[in-house]
Subunit: 346 residues, 2 copies
């Protein structure tokens, strides 16, 4: 449990009051006056319109005036003219994200900004399906990376609102939208293939009870089964007491190997196995997934499945192409790559 | 290194083409026609205007027509009338976030949505200072949680763009803005106070070399020093080889205790100490921070500093109050609470 601390409120003695917004917010008319040009010229220059030829000195004057006055164009006003913004909307992760995903997000946002898009992450907490789609559509994004759970109707709402590219993220494509497919069966297949090669024919598969992880755990289990090994699903909560019960169950069943869902659950399981006097890998082999640093710090060192995503640059180019020249039909891409990192635990 | 997989592109045989946006996007005029009311009435109903009295059946007719046609109001158009949107902009974390922060973010976004705000996370990768402020201002947020690094000028740009509450997040307030202060000196103080009580007068303090962590590591070190113990800064990279060198250094210096920055660095250090045959806590005591689950899985179990943030509900109320009735001067709040979780490693 996280404690809720008291929040003391302090009033510093000297500081400029932030107050309500000043009424003197600079407008494009102010910029035009200061630069000695028309408002239309200001608009052409600041919106980087290529249709109208404007001399370099004039451009420079407008930019300088805008900077001096602190004028900021209004994305909303631009979007009313264009029918959409330059916003690329994507779901804010609602679970803690690891280094793989956060590194990818950074790179992707940076790459999008170089194409002059604004990457915006939007929480999907407490809203789902059509409600989420309507809330997202209000921002008039030019492109959306939508959770596949948004469904066909939600996708349609976003497309009708002016989004030129709607791309779902998930295990399966959604009709009518482009799709980036993260097929987690591959993770289970890679783990089970290795265990099968090491002679295991019947393996336990940890299935976290924690909310939101089913979306990954279920396909990983299916992937294990695709290799032909017998898979025994072992539900587990992320605490030591529960892990000790799972270990007792593993011994009753006489399982010789476990695919532990990911490296963190593998660490939990290894601790419980070792506390119970079970030797790893001789009595029970363990395979994790994610290739976190902590796997290298365990003894024995953890054998794991490394996941990889495409580069952010590659994905930004994909989005930009779909926006600029929408193809005739949906494009579907597999983005998740899984490979074995063999160490000592299996 | 993360490998970059090839992305195979597939064209599914049967699926409705997503194509460019349909020209038949429903407008408020369509809604008005379908509901048999004026466009003004549609606008009053969908913008929930309280100034105009509209009967419940009419309201219902408008909402039903909007739903049937799939009409979504345009946040940008509303923002042009109001001068700002209902967007609360906050920085997207650019480092992997732990359960504490991601849980807090979820709760905060959910609480904001109940006040009819839209929480939007905005990447700050590759932009800084005034550039970031200008990019953020384009979205015309009604409130901004800005990194303190945005500075006085950036804050001013956001305020002039119409943001009614600009609240910085950081170790120090920024002149002219409200501030949520996360004072990480408290974390170092709590760790060092415990070690001091256990008789340690000279302790090592791990200082991660990884980018972006200085902002937390430097104040934590300062907090250690505030307790009167002698602190020896030990720069460390997050890999085993470097950790082994740090252990050699700890032995040369004859240090009897280390504050390890956080639980993950504590795990790295404990592994390197144990691999070198150093007993924990008898030869060297170790304190982490964050109270992650992995600390409970280490042997000996990790003594750590637990951090706590205010509830998301509390913070959403704070933001809403600043937006609705901007106070005369800036409000400054301490939000970080630190407390010791004593286990076996120190």
């Amino acid at each position: 449990m996280v404690e809720k601390p008291q929040i003391p409120s302090q009033q510093p003695a000297s500081a400029e009051p932030p107050g309500p917004p000043r009424s003197s917010a600079p407008t494009s008319a102010d910029v035009a006056r200061q630069a000695g040009v028309s408002r239309a010229t200001v608009s052409y220059v600041l919106n980087n319109t290529s249709a109208v030829r404007i001399s370099e000195p004039t451009r420079r004057r407008v930019h300088e005036a805008a900077r001096e006055l602190g004028y900021v164009p209004h994305a909303a006003a631009r979007s009313l003219r264009a029918g959409h913004t330059r916003i690329v909307l994507m779901p804010a992760p609602d679970v803690p994200v690891g280094t793989l995903y956060s590194g990818f997000l950074n790179e992707f946002q940076w790459a999008l900004s170089r194409f002059d898009y604004t990457a915006v992450q939007y929480g999907s907490v407490g809203v789902g399906g059509d409600d989420a789609a309507r809330a997202w559509a209000e921002l008039r994004p030019v492109a959306v990376l939508a959770p596949a759970g948004m469904g066909r109707r939600g996708i349609g709402i976003l497309q009708r609102s002016g989004a030129r590219a709607v791309i779902t993220l998930g295990a399966e494509p959604v009709e009518g939208a482009h799709a980036l497919i993260a097929d987690h069966r591959a993770v289970g297949r890679v783990a089970a293939h290795h265990l099968r090669e090491r002679g295991h024919r019947r393996i336990g598969v940890l299935m976290p009870r924690e909310e939101g992880l089913d979306a990954f755990a279920v396909p990983r289990l299916a992937g294990v089964r695709e290799t032909g090994v017998e898979a025994v699903a072992l539900p587990v909560a992320y605490d030591e007491e529960n892990a000790a019960q799972v270990v007792a169950h593993i011994r009753e069943l006489g399982l010789s190997a476990v695919f532990a869902y990911n490296d963190e659950y593998a660490m939990l399981l290894m601790r419980a196995l070792q506390d119970a006097g079970v030797a790893i890998p001789d009595d029970v082999a363990v395979v994790g997934a994610d290739d976190l640093m902590l796997g290298r710090l365990l003894r024995p060192r953890l054998t794991t499945v490394r996941l990889a995503l495409p580069s952010g640059q590659e994905l930004a180019e994909f989005v930009d192409r779909l926006v600029r020249t929408p193809p005739a039909g949906p494009e579907i891409r597999d983005v998740l790559d899984a490979s074995l990192v063999r160490r000592e635990s299996a």
